[in-house]
């Protein structure tokens, strides 16, 4: 195996994929090990090849629209008493941070000479991004999506199909994201000689947690430089939502060694952790092995995976990337659940105060950032600075928003619900 080129920190995985000696690893069928080794070598070689790195940066810049802006949300900041900066990943091509990961993995697929990609998707954002990358790089694309999610996110199914991808609904298990991953792995075992698995988050077997992190870390690298350049300071806190955790690890990585910067992940609290209907894996799960990595898992006494719940399909996953498990276990990052209701309030609030409709995933981070801003504003004054990763836009979630807020009927109007929202978050 080739040498890891980048400097390793205490938060990075060792050569076998273990973070902190414990989390992560590769609990996988032998049939896939050769492919995972091949991928690991190809990724290391590519990251050491300036031609690859330059091409990745060029594609992200010219095609995906990075670097994304770091935007001072002034009205929101005034409301909460501290400076809230939004990392506008929602403005990337395809509307989320996920384009960074798929363009990196698809570029690597081309380099490895493979002709087909497969992907799993929950909300459909990673599926859309994968279908987009496949179109851009002229690769065949098959996306596995839980049957429940295909119904929740029909618009994204149509987008993938329009982009030329085949979408296969997965009926097994709970018919959601975890089962889509199982089915994609089953496909890969049989197709591995010509197919690359574009894993959608910084989880799964080594090298995916580290490789996906590398392709997403531009979010934090950019945000850190932008914050220093625009405000002359590092932020007091960085916030992101955590499902599998790719957008979160993408923005966290640049700040891990900045000890004065608080790092906060916000997990999907669903109906409330106490109800059992949630996906707050770190907050309420226990160490185990899921999808090839040792990490926090929502599981029962026998180690069977427990079905998760979140209003946001993109966060509805009973595992979490193993590097987050390390960051939680070491205390470097704090993970807090945010309920469906809190996230939806934050979605409405950001829409009204900034004219930005966030993805419900990102709305979890917005809620968390508002709470942080209130505390930090009191502790440090109005110049206290919070960067929140606005990881995706909310267009895909309008169906859920219509149902939640009772929107879409011109004669009734949304006034009552949204006003109530503002009082709640303003208190």
């Amino acid at each position: 195996m080739s040498q890891q080129v980048q400097h390793k920190s205490r938060y990075d995985a060792d050569d076998r994929g273990y973070f902190g000696g414990t989390w992560g690893g590769r609990f996988m069928p032998e049939a896939l090990v050769a492919a995972l080794d091949e991928l690991t070598d190809a990724w290391h070689e590519a990251m050491a090849d300036t031609a690859f790195v330059d091409e990745f940066e060029r594609v992200l810049r010219d095609y995906a629209g990075t670097p994304s802006r770091l935007y001072h949300a002034e009205r929101l900041s005034k409301k909460v008493g501290a400076r809230v900066l939004l990392k506008r990943e929602d403005l990337n091509h395809t509307g989320a941070h996920k384009i960074r990961n798929v363009m990196g993995q698809a570029l690597l697929t081309k380099r490895m000479g493979k002709t087909r990609v497969i992907a799993e998707t929950g909300a459909g954002q990673h599926g859309v991004a994968s279908a987009t990358a496949a179109a851009y790089f002229d690769l065949d694309c098959t996306v596995y999506m839980g049957a429940v999610d295909t119904r929740r996110q029909a618009l994204n199914v149509a987008r993938m199909q329009l982009l030329g991808a085949k979408v296969i609904p997965v009926e097994s298990g709970s018919a959601t994201l975890k089962d889509a991953i199982n089915e994609a792995l089953r496909d890969w075992v049989a197709s591995v000689d010509h197919t690359a698995y574009l894993f959608g988050t910084a989880a799964g077997p080594h090298p995916f947690p580290s490789m996906v992190r590398d392709f997403c870390r531009g979010i934090g690298d950019e945000a850190r430089a932008q914050c220093l350049e625009q405000y002359g300071v590092l932020p007091d806190a960085v916030a992101a939502c955590v499902g599998g955790g790719s957008n979160a690890i993408g923005i966290f990585t640049a700040f891990l060694e900045d000890e004065g910067v608080e790092i906060h992940g916000f997990e999907p609290g669903g109906d409330g952790v106490e109800t059992g209907r949630h996906a707050a894996t770190i907050h309420a799960g226990e160490a185990g092995v899921l999808h090839g990595a040792r990490t926090y898992v929502l599981q029962d006494e026998d180690g069977q995976t427990v079905e998760s719940h979140s209003i946001s399909a993109g966060l509805d996953y009973p595992g979490v990337g193993p590097q987050h498990s390390l960051l939680a276990a070491t205390g470097r990052a704090t993970y807090t659940p945010v309920t469906d209701a809190e996230a939806m309030d934050a979605m409405a609030l950001l829409s009204r105060t900034e004219g930005i409709i966030p993805a419900i995933e990102s709305a979890h981070a917005i809620h968390g950032a508002i709470e942080l801003a209130k505390r930090l504003g009191q502790e440090k004054g109005p110049d206290a600075t919070i960067i929140v990763n606005l990881s995706g836009r909310g267009d895909k979630d309008m169906g859920t928003a219509i149902e939640w807020f009772g929107l879409g009927h011109a004669e009734e109007g949304p006034e009552a619900d949204l006003d109530q929202t503002e009082t709640v978050t303003q208190q």
């Binding site: 076998r16 996988m28 069928p29 032998e30 050769a34 097994s172 199982n182």
Partner: protein
Amino acid sequence: MTSTSTAFEKARAEGRAALIGYLPAGYPTVDGSIRAMQVMVEAGCDAIEIGLPYSDPVMDGPTIQAAAQAALDGGVRTADVLRVVEAVAATGVPTLVMTYWNPIERYGVERWATDLAAAGGAGMITPDITPDHGAEWIAAADAHDLDKVFLVAPSSTDDRITMTAQESRGFVYAAAVMGVTGAREATSDLAGPLVQRVRASGDVPVAVGIGVSNGDQAAEVAAFADGVIVGSAFVRALLDHPDDEAAGLEALRALTADLAEGVRRAAR
């Protein structure tokens, strides 16, 4: 406990390959699965693999998934699997558990090894643990004298085959195809060369699994392997008779007899 090597020794003495049958514990019920495995032993299986049903079985095709999910829906627990082990091991044939890793980690690896050995289990087959990520299991298996069966695949490098053969005890499970469990129409032409590569790495017996569903296929595989592993076809026999246990057991008996005849027919 009867170690798995006795099954291979017996078969070798008779100049044939061993027949290893798989069913998940708890399908259609815990007691029903015990009766089914007892029938497989009576009708000619030399060793039994008991599947521990798991919520996320990435190496299994639709047939085994369906039975395992039904077992979970029926409330099967890890402790029930040990009860099945005890009942099947009492027949005298080597009895192994085939399981994904998380239920074992959750149960406690050392506690599991203790209880599996106490139940008379011969060892464990681990589809999502390779020896290089299985130190904890290897230590527990060695301490309790349990067989540790690891898998090789057509994609395995020679170095990995050597490592796997050296770390395995009981037998090496050679996955005949690149794919998940399930019956196939034709036997794989990848299996023969894979068995040869494992043989070159040591003395441990090599059994071939995935895709074998009838006596003719068993005969083909038995011509070059030490053992023939059949899973989905047995599960299918039960799934096809959901409301008639007697008919399911008859189908299982007939299939076992066909396969047992197959491993004896092979030209070796």
